[in-house]
């Protein structure tokens, strides 16, 4: 939260000083070898849980990633092993049964086999594991319509107490009338409790819905669902690193570009994580403006 605020502050200062401009740049890049890409979440919701497998490509490949099909994918927790089935409608996506849900404190192990990413004729195996953290139930959320110099929209204010005895990491997501608004990597808001461990949040702004963004303008009577997600420290770092690389770099604030960390073995990239989710709802009051 501090870092983002400071980054905003200094970037604003830079804008005052000089309006930077951009233009297309032609560059020829080398090729890169193919890697297995894994992304999967086990959540505490009772639903179909998905693991997506795909292949990396050269940077200017500029087509949707190639799915990795016909892999053997299992998830182990305790003594039980669940085999995931590939969705025939979405190649490369492997799904648990519909009634599956994760439990806080439980460790989930992912195993992927029968894939030959390097095309050497010998199938490789990949694995990862994740422990589902605990997350507190928010007391409530509040909605506040705010107008700032360059933008306006709805602030979502969080009322919750962070547990004092643990180091906690959170992801915040928002749904408006059942539609997930923060559905992409840049929009996920992750936080650590480094600076507010054990404290009450007293209505701090946990999300902002920008009137100018498609689907985010909140109208009177809308149902806003706020998801408070408990995530692991490794996943928190993964999201921060992924967002850092996604947002680009500049000589003032950015370190050298670097590959995003992963918890998948054997040279694959991506992440496998377990997330516990608690929700709070609010009905938007009629808008004055």
């Amino acid at each position: 939260m501090f870092i983002k605020l400071i980054r905003t502050l200094i970037i604003t200062g830079t804008i005052f000083l000089a309006h930077s401009c951009t233009e297309p740049y032609d560059v020829v890049l080398d090729s890169s070898y193919t890697r297995l890409i894994v992304y999967g979440e086990i959540t505490s919701d009772t639903c179909v849980q998905k693991i997506a497998l795909s292949k990396s490509a050269d940077y200017f490949y500029n087509l949707p990633a190639q799915p990795v099909t016909a892999a053997d994918v299992t998830i182990t927790t305790g003594d039980s092993v669940i085999s995931l089935l590939e969705n025939p409608q979405i190649p490369g996506t492997y799904e648990t049964p519909a009634g599956f849900y994760g439990l806080e404190g439980q460790v989930y192990s992912l195993r992927i086999s029968n894939v030959d990413i390097n095309n050497d004729g010998n199938p490789e195996e990949y694995s990862a594991s994740a422990k589902m953290p605990f997350v507190v139930q928010p007391d409530s959320i509040g909605l506040n319509y705010a107008v700032y110099p360059f933008f306006k929209g709805t602030e979502i204010l969080l009322y919750a107490r962070d547990p004092a005895e643990t180091m906690d990491f959170y992801a915040f997501r928002v749904l408006r009338n059942g539609v997930l608004l923060t559905d992409s990597l840049p929009e996920i808001n992750v936080q650590s409790d480094l600076l507010f461990n054990g404290n009450y949040t007293y209505g701090i702004q946990a999300a902002f819905l920008d009137d100018e963004k498609e689907g985010e303008k909140v109208l009177g009577g809308d149902t806003i669902c706020f998801e408070m997600q408990g995530i692991s420290e490794e996943y928190y770092k993964f999201i921060i690193e992924a967002q850092t690389e996604l947002f680009g770099s500049n000589p003032l604030f950015s370190g050298p570009p670097a590959n995003i960390s992963t918890n998948i073995s054997n040279g694959a990239l991506g992440f496998f994580t377990a997330i516990s989710i608690k929700r709070s709802y609010a009905i938007a009051p009629p808008r004055i403006n």
Binding site: F2, L5, I6, L9, I10, G13, F16, L17, S20, T22, E23, P24, Y25, V27, L29, D30, S31, Y33, R35, Y39, S56, A57, D58, Y59, F60, N62, L63, A65, D183, S184, L185, I188, L195, F196, N199, Y200, T201, Y202, G203, I204, Q205, I240, A242, E245, L246, G248, S249, N250, P251, L252, F253, S254, G255, P256, P257, A258, N259, I260, S261, L269
Partner: protein, 782 residues
């Protein structure tokens, strides 16, 4: 052990000189000594050439304008010269020690001052120094400036072997070193952040500055603490003759300097201020929130000096500068504060001394408004208190021995963040304070053997002691924290000591040709936790300690110096090789702010740089300036970075050209021109990609495997001096300048972004900060 060795060498050093002086000195010898100053303002002149015609040798004035020459009794012609001033010559009969204070009359036009060097004509050939450039402020003023703001550091960046860290930045790299490897001193006080406005302007108000001198490697034994360079900036002392003022109204800022005698010529003062005024126009904004914003920086320089008598002078100088930025969400406030108290004392005409008490601090504060759940305050601070003593013993005309010591107490407060107000969510995160003592003891000597060979040799013993109270984290081989150790207040829990030899020689083939060589070892005990190339005001300094060894550099240089057309064209070629150990870099995705385990983010290795620098300086009748070309490389090998393989250092820019020219069309109109070219910075680009959560993410090449496009830029300036009205003191000029005159879009950053219409497609995008920037400045003096 090392300390004992140093003191043994010290005694040996002194004994050699005592015995040598006994042999070489004539039976009866006397000293002629004094200060050289500007007859119009009383400002002492640094590095003025004092020459004994009969001996064909002499001396140069020191940083306080003092000279001393010891000679056998007899009759001599003493001459003093300083570029931009009328030469002085006088016959003297030396039958006793004499004090001769000399005032040089400035030439009527400043045009003659527009040279790289202010000293004697073949000083570049005859001096023992190499890799050193002195820039008087008059020279700096004639260089076309960014947004019309005359800037010492931007001028330094035009010298061979020096490059800026990024477009528009005040950060600079010397011979491939990092920007934190430059020791920047203002009246001997260390400046830990010499920039304003995120680095786009330096903190030096040109009206308050006398001159700047950059040592690129041949750093004198009297200084240490940084690997790459020493930049000494000296403030004016203040006009002792009459009350006067200088100032200017520019595009970005305005400034005013007042100076003059206090009661009589023995005391003078200088007071200089500069402030930007972008925020003056904010109240015109329609939006009330913007009207309340703050955005400015200011500098205040103050100095007073008093001459008690020929043997005692006191100087007190201070700098205070802040940057302030505030909007409705948050505010940022940062700046430096320095105070230097110096006492010049002559124990005898042959033993000059200076004692300094120095305070320097840099701090920043970030805060959000109280009354909100996210209200917080975050401050960081670094304070230095130094005691310094320097002695110069003028043994004879060809031998000066310098010795002294400095001790500095560092107090680091790396960060304290806390919620403010009863409604704040935030607790306190306090990074423990760190304390350290840094010492330097040195002795050096310059000797001339015959008319051709000169040598200098010096030895510096430097030390660094970490002092409790402190909490030191212990890490395993993979930089994972194991535990921590707490040390009590006053506990000297860690020390480093090391010798730093400094050697140099010059052989003059003729009055126009010489060859020089030098070797310098330097050690650095504090460094910047900075992972970006340009950095921000929030970057903190951290010290050597149990987990961080001091950085060490060994540099050798060799140079050929040759002048043409009666020294009107000076040329030089210098080659250097620099080997550095304990080089610090940071791991991928390092977290450097508010991190109590910062040392765990470091990665340690070695690095080297090498290069060849060509320089042609023109001091022609009208055309002045220089043309410089540098070819250099610098590389790091650090375990844990780039798979432990060597990679180009962030400031590795092999080819550099700078052309700086000044030409007076008439007595009143001068044209200035800069043209710069350099290879683009090394960068890391993606070679692969993968799709994740609806975004395309990069897989990167090896570290710094690619390069930004080449950088080049032309700056122009035209200065129109308005002739003063007869009998009036008011003089003024207009300066018109264009930065980046042909509007090249030099890359500030290159990013890879998704296509607006199809997020599966990506493209490269170049960000540039500036096209051409015109500016007008009105300067005046009275």
């Amino acid at each position: 052990m090392i300390r004992n060795l140093f003191f043994t060498v010290l005694l040996f050093f002194i004994s050699i000189h005592v015995s040598a002086s006994g042999i070489d000195d004539p039976p009866v010898s006397y000293s002629i000594s004094g200060h050289v100053s500007d007859a119009a303002t009383g400002e002492v002149l640094i590095a003025a050439n004092v020459y004994i015609r009969e001996l064909g040798s002499g001396s140069v004035t020191n940083a306080y304008g003092y000279y001393s020459i010891t000679l056998a009794s007899g009759s001599y012609s003493i001459g003093v010269s300083y570029v931009g001033y009328q030469s002085f010559e006088k016959k003297i009969l030396l039958t006793e020690n004499q004090v001769l204070n000399i005032e040089l009359l400035p030439k009527s036009s400043e045009i003659d001052e527009v040279t790289v060097s202010s000293v004697k004509k073949n000083q570049n050939v005859s001096s023992l120094e190499m890799g050193t450039t002195q820039l008087p402020i008059q020279s700096i003023r004639r260089i076309p400036a960014f947004m019309g703001e005359v800037d010492v550091i931007k001028a330094i960046q035009l010298l061979p072997g020096v490059t800026s860290t990024s477009e528009g930045s005040s950060g600079f790299s010397v011979r491939g070193g990092a920007s934190d490897q430059n020791l920047i001193l203002l009246d001997e006080a260390t400046l830990y952040n010499a920039s304003h406005m995120l680095g786009f302007f330096s903190i030096f108000n040109n009206d308050a500055i006398k001159d700047a001198k950059l040592y690129k490697g041949d750093i004198p034994a009297s200084s240490g603490g940084r690997l790459s360079s020493l930049l000494e900036v000296r403030m004016k002392d203040g006009n002792t003759k009459q009350f006067s003022g200088t100032g200017g109204i520019g595009t970005i800022s305005s400034r005013l300097t007042l100076e003059g005698p206090v009661f009589n010529e023995k005391t003078s003062f200088l007071l200089a201020g500069r402030r930007t005024y972008a925020d003056v126009f904010l109240p015109l904004a329609k939006n009330k929130d913007i009207r309340d914003n703050k955005l400015y920086f200011y500098d205040l320089n103050a100095k007073i000096n008093h001459t008690f008598n020929d043997n005692n002078r006191l100087y007190i100088s201070s700098y205070f500068g802040r940057d302030v930025f505030k909007n409705q969400f948050a505010g940022l406030d940062f700046g430096n504060n320095t105070i230097t108290i110096r006492w010049n004392h002559l124990f005898s005409s042959r033993l000059f001394s200076n004692f300094s008490l120095i305070h320097s601090d840099y701090d920043y504060l970030i805060a959000t408004p109280e009354g909100e759940p996210n209200a917080f305050e975050w401050n960081s601070n670094l304070k230095d208190h130094s005691l310094k003593a320097d002695f110069s013993y003028y043994a004879n005309p060809v031998n000066v021995i310098k010795f002294g010591f400095v001790s500095t107490y560092h107090h680091f407060l790396p960060g304290n963040a806390r919620g403010t107000g009863s409604e704040s969510l935030f607790t306190e995160l306090l990074l423990p304070d760190n304390y350290a003592l840094e010492h330097g003891i040195y002795i050096s000597s310059e000797n001339k053997f015959g008319r051709s060979l000169s040598v200098k040799y010096g030895l510096r013993l430097s030390g660094f002691q970490n002092v409790g109270k402190a909490t030191v984290y212990n890490f395993d081989a993979n930089y994972n924290k194991i535990d921590s150790t707490v040390y009590a207040p006053g506990d000297f829990y860690n020390s480093y000591w090391g010798l730093e030899p400094r050697l140099g020689m010059s052989y003059m083939f003729s009055q126009t040709t010489s060859v020089k060589a030098s070797y310098a070892r330097t050690r650095q005990y504090v460094q910047l936790a900075q992972n970006s190339t340009a950095g921000t005001p929030l970057d903190i300094w951290f010290s050597a300690g149990k987990n961080i060894k001091p950085q060490i550099s060994d540099q050798v240089s060799l140079g050929l110096f040759r002048n043409f057309i009666s020294d009107k064209i000076e040329t030089s070629v210098e080659v250097y090789y620099k080997k550095m150990s304990n080089t610090i870099d940071f791991k991928d995705h390092a977290f450097l702010l508010l991190n109590p385990e910062l040392e765990g983010e470091t990665r340690i290795g070695k690095s080297w740089s090498a290069g060849i620098e060509f320089l042609i300086k023109l001091n022609l009748e009208k055309l002045n300036g220089w043309i410089a070309y540098t070819y250099s490389r610098t590389e790091r090998t650090i375990k844990g970075i780039n798979n432990d393989q060597p990679y180009a250092a962030p400031y590795d820019k092999p080819n550099n050209v700078s052309v700086v020219l000044n030409y007076p069309f008439t007595d009143n109109i001068q044209l200035g021109l800069n043209w710069l070219y350099s290879t683009g910075n090394p960068v890391t680009f993606p070679t692969g990609r993968f799709d994740l959560m609806g975004s395309v993410l990069p897989i990167y090449s090896k570290r710094n495997e690619y390069r930004m496009p080449d950088y080049h830029r032309l700056d122009l300036s035209l200065t129109w001096s308005i002739p003063p009205k007869q009998g009036k003191k008011w003089q003024s000029e207009f300066n018109f300048s264009i930065y980046n005159a042909y509007g090249r879009h030099n890359a500030w950053a290159i990013n890879f972004v998704p296509d607006e219409t199809d997020p599966t497609k990506t493209k490269a995008e170049l960000t540039y900060l500036f096209s051409y920037i015109p500016s007008i400045t009105y300067n005046f003096k009275f």
